[in-house]
Amino acid sequence: MNGVHDMGGMHGFGPIVIDEDEHLFHAPWEARVRSMVMLSIAQGRFNADASRYGIEQMPPAVQLNAPYFERWLASLEFNHVREGNVSEVELEDRIDVLRENPSFTVEPKAPLRPSNPPRTGNLDGLVGLSANPRFAVGDAVIAKNINPLGHTRLPRYARGKRGTITRVHGIFAFADTNAHGLGLQPQTVYNVAFAGRELWGDSAEMNQVVSLDLWESHLEPPPAE
């Protein structure tokens, strides 16, 4: 989706703020959210692509105001609701219960319920080596001008732009479909290098190259000349 998460090339976000004394987590809940996300993905409750989509679907103004792990939390809630594991009403009710009674606890169950079907993740990624890739190192390609409502890993700034294949990474599940339960659609992933001037015109800095890893579905040969 053409969302605010797709921020490559945007202006207005200010200087880079470097905090040398930073902590990895600013509060205990942040570490717990991260654990729940990693565990949910490892258990096949949802996959990493769906986890990213869960952040992308946050309303833009909310997304830009939410700190990093609050975005993870929103995605975690979104995906467990999307998969039918919990409902929004259950979440609201449990928040009320915990607000009234912070010491409220539940009995863990063993063994854990399996994910059925498991949501295969891209983190397990590499399906195999490419048998017959459409493009080879050195080929010119165009990143397609796609504007899907759902998840995509082809950012806006590269769409319609011409680049050159620099690496053939092998076959991977296609994030754009895998985020939506529309299948792994395994296909070759390529590294594509774009000249700065191709991406940004005269606004590009001197001697600039940007590489993206794109799936074969994202690419097409340039028009015949």
């Binding site: 921020m7 880079i16 509060a27 467990h80 594991n85 700034y157 190259v209």
Partner: protein
């Protein structure tokens, strides 16, 4: 027994509520959750990457294997890389830097958890359109004829930069060299400085 609700931020309450429901429904255990936290928080850090860099500086054949298949090369050292790692080499002509504009993908298997600035909207938005301007905010000014190659981590590949070895380090051991290599140098927003003599 009742804590002041003002004390508990809403995000912490939401976290606890979800955790409580997932445990109740048999989708999560307390122990697994705690194990996961400690593994990520404690076990991995940029030292793994620094050791890889130091070895590449001192062993040309290893460097060759690292640049062609980083996962296999790093496995020789007894380190695991969970997903597809790619190491890109800085040269006098090309400076590499790593970003993820769409989210915050990061080579955690060699560098640990990312710094906050890496996840910031400012870094994510600017690294691909004005990398030199970003680098200069980190104190790194590159000559105009050096190409800045930005790697936007849009798929499963994770990128680590192999910085240039500074001069004046010819006599150093691998461990000494590793101690020079900062996390920022392996993200590509810093150079490895010549050690003070």
């Amino acid at each position: 027994m009742t804590a002041d609700p003002e004390q508990e931020p809403y995000v912490a309450l939401r976290t606890k509520a979800l955790e409580s429901l997932l445990i109740e429904k048999g989708l999560l255990t307390e122990e697994a959750k705690d194990r996961q936290v400690s593994a990520y928080e404690m076990d991995i850090g940029p030292l793994a990457g620094a050791k890889v860099v130091a070895k590449a500086w001192t062993d040309a054949e290893f460097r060759g294997r690292l640049l062609s298949d980083a996962g296999a090369a790093i496995a020789e050292m007894g380190l695991a890389t969970g997903t597809s790692l790619v190491v890109v080499e800085n040269t006098p002509d090309v400076h590499n830097m790593v970003v993820c504009t769409l989210c915050s993908c990061y080579p955690w298997m060699v560098l640990g958890l990312p710094p906050t600035w890496y996840k910031s909207f400012a870094y994510r938005s600017r690294a691909v359109i004005e990398p030199r301007s970003v680098l200069s905010e980190f104190g790194l000014e590159l000559p105009e004829d050096v190409t800045v190659h930005v790697w936007d981590s849009s798929a499963e590949q994770r990128y680590m930069v192999l910085p240039q070895r500074p001069s004046g380090t010819e006599a150093m051991s691998e461990d000494e060299l590793a101690s020079l290599v900062s996390r920022d140098a392996m993200i590509g927003v810093a150079a490895v400085e010549e050690p003070a003599t």
